[in-house]
């Protein structure tokens, strides 16, 4: 921040100028400290400290047959005990094949859903970007609209369509294609469908943003030089839209990995996902330490690599803009 510039020659004016400069500087400092302090303190208290508490409790032991609140006191007292049990919770996660399977399955479901979103979303984004400006606004609004309506209700809408006496099965049976209802609901298929459906807008928007900015004269030049459309798409359009592909994929992959609502409402007993496991450990088993250990493992395996990736990406874009 630059203070007022002092250009006056008279000594009184000079002094006044200096005074004002000092004043605005200190005021600026104070204001600046206030601006930083408020969100900083809030995030420290309600975001960072809680993560450390989760780590602490993941190192504790579950007090059997106690109400969920009371065990906390015991954990606060025994430090040495906590360190000994530490191995317990994490070893349990490692030894029980359920948890590892759930982690791997979450990664798989999120990755496959991201690819399907990309396959459906890319043509949509491309179509919107090449539409006439007035159509573009309408089409974009129709992409954004579902995002503002309730996520839970959009997932719920599929229950009515997929269940045994639901619309799809009735339609297929009415057409005589099947004799018995297909078990569509409570299956892995339904989980993929739900995730793709819910997160498709997150894929389309960043893709659109990169596609609409593209210079179309490049394609014209390629066509003039005899390049077939599919080839100019592969060599020009696709590489240039790569930032959008990456941004959209991250926006789908990240929430999909930790998803709870979709596997819970649409998935079956075999659709294990780590968000659902954590929920069940906490609400059904009331095992806070194991739930905390699951959370810590999730942070280490999924969130920290993503944060690092984002940091690298930011540094690269910052380098480019310089």
């Amino acid at each position: 921040m630059s203070g007022p510039e002092v250009t006056a020659t008279g000594s009184t004016r000079l002094r006044r100028g200096i005074d004002r400069g000092v004043k605005s500087l200190t005021q600026g400092r104070l204001g600046r400290a206030l601006v930083i302090a408020l969100p900083y303190a809030w995030l420290l208290l309600f975001l960072l400290v809680p993560v450390f508490i989760v780590i602490k409790i993941s190192l504790a032991e579950m007090a059997l047959a106690s109400p969920p609140y009371s065990p906390m006191l015991q954990w606060l007292e025994g430090r040495t005990l906590a360190l000994r049990v530490h191995l317990g919770n994490y070893a349990f996660l490692w030894q029980d094949p359920l948890y590892l399977a759930a982690y791997l399955n979450s990664l798989k479901v999120a990755a496959v859903s991201t690819i399907i979103c990309l396959l459906i979303g890319y043509p949509m984004a491309y179509g919107i970007a090449r539409a006439s400006p007035s159509w573009r606004i309408v089409l974009l609004m129709m992409i954004i609209l579902p995002f503002w309506t309730s996520f839970l209700i959009r997932v719920y809408a599929w229950i009515g369509l997929l269940q045994n006496n639901g619309l799809f099965n009735n339609l297929l049976m009415g057409l005589g294609l099947i004799d018995q209802p297909l078990p569509l609901l409570h299956s892995n298929f339904a989980v993929y469908l739900g995730i793709v459906y819910s997160y498709l807008p997150f894929m389309v928007l960043p893709l659109y943003a990169t596609l609409v900015r593209q210079d179309l004269t490049l394609l014209e030049a390629a066509a003039d030089l005899g390049c077939p459309p599919w080839k100019s798409f592969l060599t020009i359009t696709l590489p240039l839209s790569l930032p959008g592909v990456i941004a959209g994929s991250l926006l789908v992959f990240i929430p999909a990995v930790g998803e709870f609502v979709i596997p819970d409402l649409l998935g079956g007993p075999d659709s294990l996902m780590i968000g659902k496991i954590l929920w069940n450990e906490f609400f059904s088993n009331r095992d806070w330490p194991v739930a905390s250990a699951v959370a810590v493992a999730m942070l280490v395996v999924i969130v920290i690599p993503l944060l690092l990736l984002q940091r690298i990406g930011e540094r690269q874009t910052a380098g480019e803009s310089r």
Partner: protein, 273 residues
């Protein structure tokens, strides 16, 4: 371009939109179904809407959710704007990396972790200083503010970084104090972002099931929690009616907002010409 390509593209786009909208439209149609069964069309009826408006549980949950969402959005806009200002304007201070990390963390953290960590924090705080007493509206609001602040910060940050710094410099050179520069110059320019941030915060809070489930207490059941518990048992006609109302209200809002935006853009381009 050949004639087949646009046709293929058109089909792909149409398929995408059908995929996005068919489930919602089916839901809306069946909310007027007189029969309780999904399979049978029992004739047109608005009885589920009548029952919905008599459902005390849903109505009180809705009211609670609206209050939490409004409070959350207001706080989140204040905190998120300050956070965005910090990130854009103050590029040099110690532990800036930590701050930037904390602002973006809720965007990549799974909701279950945010919920669990917030709950464990509240339980520990209660043991240490006796606050918050039990869990309920306050704890849900605090947990919501923490994660929505990140979204508001992103929205405001992108607007702030587009700002022309010379305006501020000119004001400062003419002797305006930093806070005055903020109030008179920065605030009016970023006000669309603040409104968008507020609406985003409101929607995110209204929509949240996972975090609220962790940090709520007895007697504080939000709307998504009520919907979730009735939906787990299967299709519920009252939820269909509720969903239809939500979709209608939100669509009206989005369409009006889009229309205003469109008009504003037109005016700008008209001026430029």
């Amino acid at each position: 371009m050949s004639g087949r390509r646009p046709f293929l593209l058109f089909t792909a786009v149409a398929f995408g939109y059908a995929f996005l909208y068919l489930p919602i439209i089916t839901l809306m149609v069946y909310s007027f179904n007189d029969s309780r069964l999904v399979t049978v069309w029992g004739g047109f009826s608005t009885r589920w809407y009548v029952e919905l408006f008599r459902n005390e549980q849903i109505l009180s949950a809705l009211w609670l959710s609206v209050r939490i969402a409004a409070m959350n959005a207001t706080f989140a806009v204040v905190l998120g704007t300050l956070a965005a200002l910090t990130l854009v304007r103050f590029t040099q201070f110690r532990t800036r990396m930590l701050f930037a990390g904390m602002v973006t963390a809720p965007l990549v953290m799974p909701e279950v972790i945010l919920g669990l960590s917030a709950l464990l924090m509240f339980v520990s705080l209660e043991q240490l200083i006796g606050w918050p007493e039990g869990r309920g509206m306050t704890t849900i609001t605090i947990a919501h503010i923490t994660f929505t602040t990140a979204y508001v910060a992103v929205v405001v940050q992108s607007r702030l970084s587009q700002l022309d710094g010379s305006l501020e410099e000119a004001a400062m050179d003419l002797g305006a104090r930093p806070w005055k520069v903020f109030l008179v110059i920065i605030l009016p320019i970023i006000s669309p972002a603040l409104i968008a941030g507020w609406l985003l915060g409101f929607t995110l809070s209204m929509d949240d099931l996972v975090i609220a489930s962790f940090v709520s207490g007895p007697g504080s059941t939000t709307l998504p929690m009520v919907v979730y518990s009735s939906v787990r048992l299967g299709v519920s006609p009252q939820v269909n009616a509720l969903a239809t109302l939500i979709v209608v209200v939100v669509s009206t809002g989005v369409i009006i907002a889009g229309w205003l935006l469109h008009r504003q853009q037109r005016r700008h381009t008209g001026k430029a010409r």
